[in-house]
């Protein structure tokens, strides 16, 4: 039984901000199969292709038949908590300052034994449900949940270390003019965010949905034009120390590739908004977020990018746009590495064409802005890193895994 976490009090500006520490980060190469699983919220174990034995920890040969054909496979999540302990004096600094900390040994129904972090409601001898999570070092760890929903489950202290739950956190949504931005604001508020700052460029110009946005409690419209370095820096100077979750909802979609465009002005706009806008945001807000990764209940927790799935494979009908998305994707990986010492996650939400004005000519299926918003909140609550929203994104993901060359030819057909 978890006590609900209390809303954090206003921070005493005289107190030192506790600096983030990382749990141990080193992993073998094979072990990153779990990192991949955790990033997508899947529970995967290695399974031998020859004898079908599941094994753990990650190996390079099957402990039953010595086959090298070990494949990370979605595995049944159920197991039994065999034994548990509470660490009072861990050797590691990260855990020492979080002690007492509970870990246990779980026997999976499918065979392997996992040393795991424990949700407080897991009981010895009882069934548990396992997941892999990205911890504050960005690496995968096993996490045991009680088999059935318990009250205030998401408020568990150890679970909250694995997630970027919006509850009691403060968020910045960078573009309040877009429908996606407005839906994200609503979803974050519904998830318990204490305040949502909403960036609007040239706020004196009215926009659709403005009244609804302004009517929401705990929503504050702030001036922000992410293509303008000074505008971004000014906002960061004002609220940079209290942005726990940043959702980059920048939306600059234009159709066309290279040959049907004259000159570079459209491309330059795409780069200014999508790529340089990202750079401005990262340079202005990133350092403070990295510093505040362990700053209590409302520590800095996540940076969210909404990216087109065509960042992964160019769609020539929106060829230059796809390239700007690819640039942003690449940059996100740099940001992810740079925010990692702070334990701040970078969440990339890949979508197919959205059901918005700029994709008017594109046939369905298209993704409703509300679905994107809900996926973002779900990813934050579950601690995911890579999310594919909607049928098109999932389709591209699977096809890329099967044959990237086929995707290239077919998108260009």
């Amino acid at each position: 039984m978890i006590e609900p976490i209390a809303k954090p009090r206003r921070k005493n500006p005289l107190l030192r901000t506790r600096l983030p520490t990382s749990p141990p980060r080193a992993r073998s190469r094979a072990s990153h199969g779990f990192t991949r699983a955790a990033a997508e919220g899947r529970f995967m174990l290695q399974r031998c292709g020859a004898c079908e034995t599941f094994c753990y920890p990650a190996r390079d040969a099957c402990p039953t038949c010595l086959s090298a054909d070990l494949v990370f496979t979605d595995a049944p999540r159920r197991g039994t908590l065999l034994s548990e302990t509470t660490l009072h004096i861990p050797a590691d600094v990260h855990f020492r300052e979080r002690a007492p900390w509970r870990v246990g040994l779980v026997a999976m129904d499918c065979g392997p034994k996992l040393v795991t972090h424990l949700h407080a409601d897991c009981e010895e001898g009882k069934s548990v449900v396992m997941s892999f999570q990205l911890d504050k070092s960005g690496q995968a760890v096993a996490f045991a949940h009680p088999e059935r929903e318990t009250s205030n489950m998401a408020d568990d202290r150890q679970w909250r270390e694995m997630t970027a739950d919006p509850k009691f956190r403060r968020a910045l949504v960078t573009n309040g003019r877009s429908i996606v931005g407005q839906e994200v604001v609503a979803a974050l508020k519904a998830a318990g965010a204490s305040i949502v700052f909403v960036g609007v460029a040239e706020p004196w110009k009215p926009f659709r949905g403005e009244d609804t946005l302004r009517a929401l409690e705990g929503v504050e419209i702030v001036p922000l034009d992410i293509g303008d370095e000074k505008s971004v820096a000014d906002l960061a100077a004002d609220i940079g120390g209290k942005v726990d979750i940043l959702v980059n909802t920048t939306e600059h979609v234009r159709s066309g590739g290279l040959l049907d465009r004259q000159g570079t002005s459209v491309v330059r706009d795409e780069i200014d908004q999508t790529y340089l806008g990202f750079v401005h945001l990262a340079q202005a807000f990133g350092p403070a977020m990295r510093m505040r990764g362990s700053d209590g209940v409302n520590s800095a927790a996540a940076w969210v990018n909404i990216l087109s799935v065509y960042a992964l494979a160019n769609w020539p009908m929106f060829g230059a746009y796809s390239a700007s998305q690819a640039a942003a994707l690449s940059l996100s990986h740099s940001l992810r590495a740079e925010l990692r010492p702070g334990g701040v996650k970078v969440v990339n939400v890949f979508t197919g064409p959205l059901d918005i004005e700029w994709f008017q000519t594109v046939p369905p299926p298209k993704v409703a802005p509300r679905v994107v918003a809900n996926s973002i909140v779900s990813a934050l609550k579950r601690g995911l890193e890579d999310v594919f929203v909607g049928d098109v994104a999932e389709d591209i993901r699977q096809r890329l895994a099967a044959n990237p060359k086929a995707v290239e030819r077919e998108l260009g057909a």
Partner: protein, 392 residues
């Protein structure tokens, strides 16, 4: 009792038990500690370093050096070498390998040495770099340092077999009482069961006095033929039997037994003795629960009877079951891989009658064991040896 078909260690002996007194922290290197042990071996045997033609070494903190680098460091020219990375099972393994090498004539005098330093930060370094499974699947949970792994084992053992903290406490308290006779023990203050019970928790149910103290130190012995020992006029220790086993009982969900249970009949058959014939036992005591497990697995009682066995015996030097007479790692300190040698070297002194203040009266024959390498969720390496003095 079964018969053993293994070749006995006839005419092979151990000699010159060496302990370089431990310190909590040392600014010296592991090489320095091993160097002191080698010097004590040659001085104790009345030989020159060049007389050593076999070298067997174990260390966690020797950095990049394995045995071969150390030969040049120490000016040894050997025709047989082994580096044994088996942690707490290293001494039993060293003794087994060296004895066969001597028996086969591959070496005449083998120096078996384990030494580790303990810098202020070296224990953490050892934890971080212990093994791949540990790095991937234990250390990230805050569970490095073996305390958490043994806590999971201890808790399961307590629930399964009804062991109480008081039972583990009795082992620790008896060892502290023994250690007060050992001038080399780092723990100098008496320990009461009340102090044991009220100690601060480290990882439930492991509390402070269940844990060994990492320290710097070195231990060593020589292995040679009976004839060489006689020509050097060295008191010799006979090797009656040994066993060694790795990664046993992997299907046990939580470790409740070590590899000894697989080979214990063989151990006594080869030695031609029964558990009752032993005058003392030196178990590998990284945690009291592991010693209790060994009372079962080494044949002193049946599985699950460990707690009762402890309740019924006095484990001190003069007790009904003299156990870890030096004070063991729990009270002497754990000098890295030297911890593996502690019980073996003390067993040698006991059967030679050289144990001084920790001497068990009339000890002729005894057992020493090893246990090591919590690679993931259990200790993988186990071993044991039955040693005897001249009179046995």
């Amino acid at each position: 009792m079964q018969n053993s078909i293994r070749t006995p260690y006839d005419r092979v002996v151990m000699a010159v038990p060496v302990t370089i007194p431990y310190v909590r922290y040392s600014i010296e290197s592991a090489q320095w500690w091993m160097g002191r042990a080698l010097k004590a071996l040659v001085d104790g045997a009345g030989i020159k370093p060049r007389d050593i033609d076999g070298f067997c070494v174990s260390s966690f903190t020797a950095g990049l050096d394995s045995g071969i680098g150390l030969t040049q460091h120490f000016g040894l020219c050997v025709r047989w070498i082994d580096t044994i990375p088996l942690g707490g099972a290293s001494a039993i393994a060293a003794l087994r390998r060296a004895a066969r090498a001597v028996q086969a004539g591959d070496a005449r005098i083998v120096a078996c040495v384990a030494g580790d330093t303990n810098h202020v930060d070296s224990f953490r370094y050892t934890l971080e770099n212990f093994s791949r499974f540990n790095q991937d699947a234990v250390y990230p949970y805050g569970a490095g340092g073996a305390n958490a792994s043994f806590a999971l084992i201890a808790r399961n053992y307590m629930r399964t077999f009804g062991a109480k903290r008081e039972d583990f406490g009795k082992i620790a308290v008896a060892q502290r009482s023994n250690a007060l006779h050992n001038p080399h023990a780092l723990m100098k203050a008496p320990l009461t069961i009340e102090q044991y019970m009220s100690a601060r928790p480290i990882a439930d149910p492991i509390h402070l006095f269940d844990c060994v103290m990492p320290c710097a130190g070195a231990e060593a012995f020589l292995v040679m033929s009976e004839d060489v020992a006689a020509s050097l006029k060295l008191p010799a220790v006979k090797i009656l039997a040994t066993i060694e086993r790795h990664n046993a009982f992997g299907d046990d969900p939580v470790q409740v037994r070590g590899g000894w249970a697989m080979d214990v009949d063989e151990l006594y058959a080869m030695a031609g003795v029964k558990p009752d014939d032993l005058d003392f036992v030196q178990t590998y005591d990284d945690y009291p629960v592991i010693s209790m497990m060994q009372f079962e697995d080494l044949g002193f009682c049946r599985k699950g009877e460990g707690p009762d066995f402890v309740r019924q015996h006095d484990l001190t030097i003069d007790g009904s079951f003299p156990h870890n007479t030096s004070g063991g790692q729990l009270s002497v300190g754990q000098a890295g891989a030297g911890g593996a040698y502690l019980g073996v070297v003390e067993a040698m002194r006991q059967v030679l009658g050289q144990a001084g203040p920790t001497q068990v009266k009339g000890a002729r024959i005894g057992l020493a064991s090893g246990f090591g390498m919590i690679n993931y969720d259990r200790g993988l390496a186990s071993g044991a040896a039955i040693l005897a003095g001249a009179g046995a």
